[in-house]
Structures are given as C-alpha cells and as structure tokens.
C-alpha cells in the first residue's frame, strides 16, 4: 500500500511538472507576453529595458526555471487587474467554486442513484421511461441555456429563488460559505442544480445499466435463495457492485465539474474561480490565467489520487493487482 501510494504520488508530481511546461509554453511562447505587458507606444529603449527587467531576454529554459522557482514558493506574479498575487486571488475564489461543485456532486448522487435504481428495477414502468427521457435531455441541452431558463422561470416569473451571487455567507475556517445560512442556501439551489444536471443524467444511466446487469447475476439469485429481504439485496449486494463505475464517473468527473462551473458561474454571477477566469481572459490578465490553470491541474491530480484510493477500498481486486 505504501509503495503503491509513493509510486502514485511520484506519477502525480510528474504530471504536474509536465503541465507546468505546457502552460508555460502556451502562455509565454505562443502568446507573446512582451506585446501585452509593454505599451506599443513605448520607445525602443524603454522596451528593451522592460524586456530585461522582466527576464524575457533570457533563454527559454532559464525563464522556465525562474518561473518554476517562483511558482514553488506560491508566487506566479501579480494580477494586472487586482495588483495582488494572482494565486491569492484564486485561493480567495476557490471556496465558492468548491462549494458549488460539491453541492452539485451531492445532488447528482442523491437524485441520480435513486432514480437510476428505480428505472433499473422497473424498466417498463412509465416513470422509468420518463426518467430516461429526462436523462437524454440532460445530456443534450446546453447547460448555459438551461440555466437561463431556470432563472426565467424561478426568478423572473415565479419569484421563488434568487439567481445572482452567493447571498449571505458565514466565515468558517477562514473561508466564506453560503450553505450555512438560509439566504445562502436559496442562492445555491439554482446554480447547483444547473451544474449537476449533466451529472444527474450520467449517474442515472450508469446506475440503471448497472442494476439491469447485476440483478440477473448468480450472487443475487443466491442472496434471494438465502431468503434475504429484497431491500437488503438491492441496497447492499446490488448497489455495492455498481458503485465502481459510479464512483469513477462522479470522482473523475469532479475535476470536469469544477471546470464546467465556468459556465454556471457566468450564468448565475457566482463569484467563483470560473467567473474570474472568464473575466481574466477578457482583459488578458495572464498571471491570473496561469494561476487558474495551475490550480485546476493541482485539483485534477489530487482528485485522481483520491479516486484511486477509493477504488482500492471498494474493490479489493484493484489493490491486489497493484501490489504485485
């Protein structure tokens, strides 16, 4: 287990390193930072001095090493817009995005699994067909438009729920959270539901397919023959066996959920990282963009690691294979 963990950590570090190279090349080589950071009206002399001051006259590998050296100390440079360290700003915005993504994840589990279970157990039922039709819509409708329609119906027409911002927040552990106040929860419902729609459909389909496949297996028949209650068979024996694909999709998809929060955050003016990156791209705030990309990569690598760990507890076979 320890060897496995060390090996995985090493791999994660490698991925992280190669991503920094990619991001660095993307931002500093393909796009020319000199043109953006120095006014075109600057004289040749000023320009030259600025290039030297910013280190753009150095060979690329040396620039990369400087960049990495600073990055390891958490310094990616100041945001042009906020004139504060870009990484700090990202960290300030991170809780909002995390909260949104986690609530969306929670919704996709508590809505997706029961509905998928139902559709799998009673496939010919009318409700099951409605569930499946809903899942197709969940896949093909563009998230942002669904979000807009939610605002239109629930905020503009019915006036039930607010749709802009995070509402009242409470500070816990130095971070601001919405889900602890009633106002905050009201603000959370629409964006979280919007972000989770795609996930709900996916979890529903996976659960349904898993149930359909597992229910006819021998161990289920055996459990039935043993006289176990149907509730126990479904909730323990069947559910446990379909958890692997579900955990994969939910877990590995969590990074995707955070990335796709960009869209939902823009629709609902949710002050998270996603809204920040869109604003930063629009004003070409490069340190901000780099900080965001690095943050996302770190989140990704961490999630992969955690999902792998969950695997080993869910399916002992995985552990055996890796311990060879």
């Amino acid at each position: 287990m320890i060897t496995w963990l060390i090996r995985r950590l090493f791999q994660a570090a490698l991925v992280l390193l190669s991503m920094t190279v990619l991001v660095f090349i993307g931002v500093n080589v393909i796009g020319n930072p000199v043109d953006i950071m120095i006014s075109p009206e600057a004289t040749q002399d000023v320009r030259q001095r600025a290039i030297e001051a910013l280190g753009f006259d150095q060979p690329l590998w040396r620039q990369y090493l400087t960049f990495m050296g600073n990055a390891l100390q958490g310094d990616i440079g100041n945001s042009y817009v906020y004139n504060q360290p870009a990484f700090d700003i990202i960290l300030q915005r991170l809780p909002a995005t995390l909260e949104l993504a986690l609530v969306a994840l929670f919704l996709s589990v508590v809505i997706g699994i029961p509905l998928g279970l139902y559709a799998g157990l009673y496939p010919d039922n009318l409700l099951s067909k409605a569930i499946m039709a809903f899942s197709i819509l969940g896949f093909s409708l563009p998230t942002f438009w669904v979000g807009l329609m939610m605002i239109m119906v629930f905020t503009v027409m019915l006036g039930w729920l607010p749709s802009i911002g995070r509402g009242e927040t409470v500070e816990v552990l130095g971070m601001r959270w919405s889900f602890l106040t009633w106002d905050g929860i009201q603000h959370l419902i629409l964006p979280a539901l919007n972000l989770s729609l795609y996930k709900i459909s996916m979890v529903m389909r996976l659960t349904r397919a898993g149930v359909r496949e597992t229910i006819s297996k021998d161990f289920v028949k055996f459990a039935r023959a043993k006289g176990l209650s149907p509730r126990r068979i479904i909730l323990v024996h069947v559910l446990k066996n379909i958890m692997i694909p579900v955990v994969t999709v939910i877990g590995l998809g969590f990074g995707g959920t955070i990335a796709f929060a960009v869209v939902t955050e823009s629709v609902f003016a949710w002050p998270g990282m996603g809204k920040l990156i869109i604003d930063s791209i629009n004003v070409l705030d490069r340190p901000m963009i780099v900080a965001y990309l690095m943050m996302i990569v770190i989140i990704f690598v961490t999630i992969n690691l955690i999902v792998d760990l969950i695997y080993t507890t869910l399916d002992p076979r995985v552990r055996l294979e890796t311990q060879e």
């Binding site: 393909i30 093909s140 563009p142 503009v156 990335a259 869209v263 823009s266 629709v267 791209i281 963009i289």
Partner: protein, 315 residues
C-alpha cells in the same frame, strides 16, 4: 387455391423473401440502408426537421424579413418589442426584437448559418485529422501507436471546456480560433474510434489479401481499411457535430466565441440574457429553442444511425 393460407408455407415464403432480399438489391447498400433507416419514424422526422433547419440557414437571405447585419434596416425605435407586435414602420416581428430593434427571427436565421458552419466545419476537420491519426496508429503499431494513443488519452482526460479556455486564452477570440479549439477538443474522439475499428479490420482476410499483393501501405490503409471503418465514424461524426454546435454556443455565450458583428445562436442568447431579468424572455428563449431543436434533431438521427450502421457498438 383455397382461401385458407397455410401458416407454415406463409412463414416459409416470408423467410424465403428475407433470404432473397439481399440478392434482389445486391450491390445497393444504399437502398438497404435507406430501408432500415426509414423504419424509425422518429429518426425520419428528426432528419426532416434538421434538413429544414439547414435549408432555412442556407436561404436565410431570402427567408429573413430583414438583414440583421445591415444597420440601415434596423430602427432603434423598434427595440425590445414583444413577439408578434408591430414595429414603428408597420412590420410585424413574429418573435420580437432585441435591444437594437433587430428582428429576432432574422437574427436566428442568420445566427444558424454561423452556428452550423462553425459546428459542422470544425467537426469535419476534426474527423479528417482524428481519423488519419487513428488509422496510422492502428496500422503502424509499436512505438508510434503508443505515442499517438497516449496523446489521445491525455486529450480525452482533460475537460473539453478547459482545453478550449486554454486555447482561447492564449490565442484570443474569433471564429478561426473557436474552430481551432473545437478541432483540438474533438479530434481525439475520432482517433480513438478510427483506431478501434481499424484494429478489428486489420485482421480480416481482405487486408491480408491486399498485403499479399504487395500494395503500398497508404493504399491499404486509406482504400481498404478506411471504407470499412466509415460506419462507426459517421455515427460519431453526427453526434460530434451536435456537440460542436452546442459547444460553440457555450463559448460564444461566455464571450469567448464569435465576434459580436456576426452573432451565432449562442451570442444571441447571451445578448438576450441581459434583458431577461427585466422580463424580456424572448430574446434568449427563441434562439435557445432554435439551438435545442438543431441539437436534438441531429442527436436523434445519430442515435438511430448507430442502431442501423453498427448494432454491435456499445451504447
């Protein structure tokens, strides 16, 4: 002949007809395909809808009541009119107008052109690039294959929106960059599909026969293996076109897509968003419905194509 039909001979006749059918139109794969495709009313309906959408987009200059790009035809006095109301000059705006007095129906028809062009165009280029990569990987094998497929895995493990954000952050906005982003996002899916079907085709006898004839490699790959991979690729391409259109709309909504001078459906929706909280539902609603019908009709056709062309493929 008696009036009674013998059930057995009836069944026999039917099975004979079934056996005879492929011979009757042998060589006509197309007719066979059409007969199978038309079995699903839903898919045919979706195809009709989609064809009408494409025609509406192509003939937008003829069909649209006004040219939404021609500022001379717009009247600011007609701004934000609700659907069906009459304008300042007496024209009726069936779907209402936006804040600049632009007829929404015309806007949608012209917007469809951009959406379809960007979506279909990038999906097709991605198809060519991805298929080529997949075929080369499958046929070359060895280190080339490992390298190319690692690249594919890397691309697929990254959320599409992130790749697009990275590209647009580095290169800036604009139709060309959006298409580039879409191509980079989508090529890997084609590559994986092409490789998977090429791998199974490789072991077939006709490839062995072609190899025995010492035909050049490129010829075997592109003239022998590729045509047999087409069914799977066509299915993927159909669905990818729909997702490319949706993705372009998303990017344009975020303000990273097409320029404001030539709005696609996504940008129309985004423009309308600003007035939605004031109660103007139509400026976002109708372009969204147009987008929705387009995407759903393509997906329905694609879904049925999958059943017809490749029943073995996993859903």
């Amino acid at each position: 002949m008696t009036g009674i039909t013998d059930p057995q001979s009836d069944a026999l006749a039917r099975s004979r007809a079934q056996w005879a059918a492929p011979q009757a139109d042998d060589g006509s794969l197309l007719r066979d395909f059409l007969r199978q495709f038309t079995r699903s009313g839903l898919a045919v309906g979706a195809l009709v809808v989609f064809t009408s959408i494409v025609l509406a987009a192509v003939f937008a200059p003829v069909l649209a009541p006004q040219n939404p790009y021609d500022l001379m035809q717009l009247d600011i006095m007609d701004g934000r009119l609700s659907p069906g109301s009459q304008g300042y000059t007496g024209t009726t705006f069936w779907l209402g107008t936006d804040d600049q007095g632009r007829d929404l129906l015309s806007g949608i028809l012209y917007g469809l052109r951009i959406s379809l062009l960007v979506g279909a165009g990038s999906a097709l280029i991605a198809a060519v690039v991805g298929t080529a990569v997949g075929l080369v990987a499958a046929y070359a094998g060895g280190r080339t294959e490992t390298l190319l497929m690692r690249l594919v895995d890397l691309q697929l493990s990254f959320p599409t929106i992130l790749t697009a954000l990275m590209i647009l952050a580095v290169l800036g906005k604009g139709i060309f960059n959006v298409m580039l982003a879409l191509i980079i996002v989508e090529w890997a899916i084609y590559a994986r599909t092409a490789r998977a079907s090429a791998m199974s085709e490789r072991r077939r006898e006709y490839v062995e026969a072609a190899e025995s004839l010492a035909l050049p490699r490129w010829r075997i790959v592109f003239r022998h293996i590729l045509p047999n991979c087409m069914p799977a690729l066509i299915v993927i391409a159909t669905i990818q076109i729909a997702s490319a259109i949706a993705f372009e709309a998303t990017l344009s909504f975020l303000g990273l897509g097409v320029p404001i001078t030539e709005p696609s459906l996504g940008l129309l929706i985004s423009n309308g968003y600003r007035y939605m909280l004031a109660g103007d539902y139509w400026t976002s609603f109708f372009p969204g419905v147009a987008l929705l019908i387009t995407i759903v009709s393509i997906n329905l056709v694609g879904d049925h194509l999958r059943d017809v062309l490749n029943p073995r493929m996993e859903r």
